[in-house]
Amino acid sequence: MSDQKDTRKVDVWLSGTEEPEWLVESTDEGAQKMAVSEPDSRRLEQEGRSFRDDRLLEDELTPDDELMILNMGPQHPSTHGVLRLNVELEGEIVRRSKPIIGYLHTGMEKTGEDLTWLQGPTNVTRMDYLAPFHNELAYSLAVEKLLGIDLPPRAVAIRLLMTELNRVSSHLVALATNGMDIGALSMMLYGFRDRERILAFFEKTTGLRMNHNYIRPGGVAADLPPDWQEDVEFILDKVPPRMLEYEDLLKANPIWLGRTRDVGAITVEECLAYSITGPTLRAAGCDWDLRKAFPYSGIEEYQFEVPVGERGDVYDRYRVRVEEIWQSLSLVKQIAEAMPEGDYKTDDRKVAPPPRARIDESMEALIHHFKIYTEGFQVPEGEAYVAIESPRGELGAYVVSDGGAKPLRMHMRTPSFANLQALPVMMADSIIADTVATIASLDPVLGDVDR
């Protein structure tokens, strides 16, 4: 676990500075250098580290006919789905860009108004398909806030266990796709392989690898399987050594560093202005984590740290995700050890269906069961906004009830949607080869963006 964590000091070489000894030795022919004949200014420009920032002056503007508008997507493989970008190029430099979204819009908020409160998780779980448990948890917490019910401790702990495991699996995909987009194809295979171990546990518990509909208002759908502890231990045994291998693969890899250091940087002030949350905000240097700031589901009882970056570039975002995997694995271990016994859903029969055995012996239980699954339960009139920390940032659910069995309005504040607004800021005046690295480091999920 966390004591296995990689604490070796990493020598980080920044391109542009003198090459350290270990770097020259680390490859057969030494690190690649630019030709000596290239002047420094040209080299810095090629690396995207130097740009004219006084383009606002009228006489500095490149004539319009020398700018090129390039359309990326919506079917570009490195856009993580159907993201489309219009970029305005001056030579190789991206001057302006505009994300164009909506290709995956399926009207889930409209659908949500036609589903009962209990059917809601089936709908929201499909939004961020890499972190389905977080969607269900945010929605369920908001509905429970309106209902004003308390959950048994085991239901709360199961929810935390599943969401923290889900954070690991989601970040593994982020590492995998981030690697793939920059050319580290082996990272793609490794990341998906380890994610599969966690998904196997999800499948055993919920019946599905994704889109679980497991966390519901009133608790969770089913108890953990009888041998769940062995499964969690298996994950805790297998993932950390692999993580160390991936550290070897990427952490000090000169090519990786060259592609990610000082690329797509963003400051804390820009993040706050553009509503950007999650690893992107933390990589910029702000230790903002909703699990610490507004703790939910009793997460304040467990020990964990909030990893923070310094420069807010692609490399820092990668590091923050790796550190969060370690923190989440440590959380999973703590939660599994402290897992209380008891019910996995509330005993409020107006919200959660009775146990199967009670239906055979109690008429009232049968009625409750029938009412919940036909017309659904009623939620008191009111509105609530509850946000949790999803792997991508602040995931909020805003629900409005008119006292009926269906929501009057069900809105999800999805982190990827807001985070996409960072792209034009991050990509301005960078070279086009960095575009893909920047998109990958944001880890957008288009189902989460378009809903």
Partner: protein, 176 residues
């Protein structure tokens, strides 16, 4: 109805409810028009729609650095005014959330944009325009964001049906 008695008119103006929190109290005292209430334990300011930007600017200066969320609720045939613009603000320094709710009547859907205060509202206001048809004055690029550019209507309004699309190839002959 239980209370058939006609209430005697009094000259006293009902005392305005004010929040306890010092930051929120400062904001509420700054604007006479703000109505504070608690909704499920969360602080809500009801503001007139024309002063949304002013209140947002004051909230930003009072320490609400980030816009969490901006959305609209359609109370079709339930309330007048019909729409409610809902803005969720977040203050990291005060560990506070604040919700601004501005009622918007159906016959006058223009609202001042808060993009000058919170640039992050850009996508959210475009979404609100796209799906509800609210018009944000002063927004730099108020175009559809989720629906296609040539779409007619605003799908999340309550009077917009779920609808159907023609099924393709349904009359093609069956393979036997």
């Amino acid at each position: 109805m239980a209370d058939d008695q006609v209430q005697e008119p009094t000259d006293e103006i009902p005392e305005r409810a004010l929040p306890e929190n010092a930051v929120l109290l400062g904001l509420a005292e700054k604007f006479e028009s703000i109505q504070w209430r608690l909704s499920s334990g969360q602080d809500v300011f009801e503001v007139p729609k024309d002063s949304v930007r002013d209140v947002a600017l004051a909230a930003h200066d009072a320490g609400f650095e980030m816009l969490s969320d901006l959305t609209v609720v359609d109370y079709f045939r339930q309330r007048t005014p019909r729409f409610a613009l809902v803005i969720n603000l977040l203050s990291q320094q005060h560990l506070l959330r604040l919700r601004l709710i501005a009622p918007v009547p159906a016959d006058d859907v223009s609202v001042p944009s808060i993009v000058p205060v919170y640039p992050g509202a850009n996508f959210y206001e475009r979404e609100a325009f796209d799906l509800f048809g609210l018009e944000f004055e002063g927004h730099p690029d108020l175009t559809r964001i989720l629906m296609p550019d040539d779409w007619e209507g605003h799908p999340l309004r309550k009077d917009y049906g779920v609808g159907s699309i023609p099924v393709q190839f349904k009359d093609s002959h069956q393979v036997k």
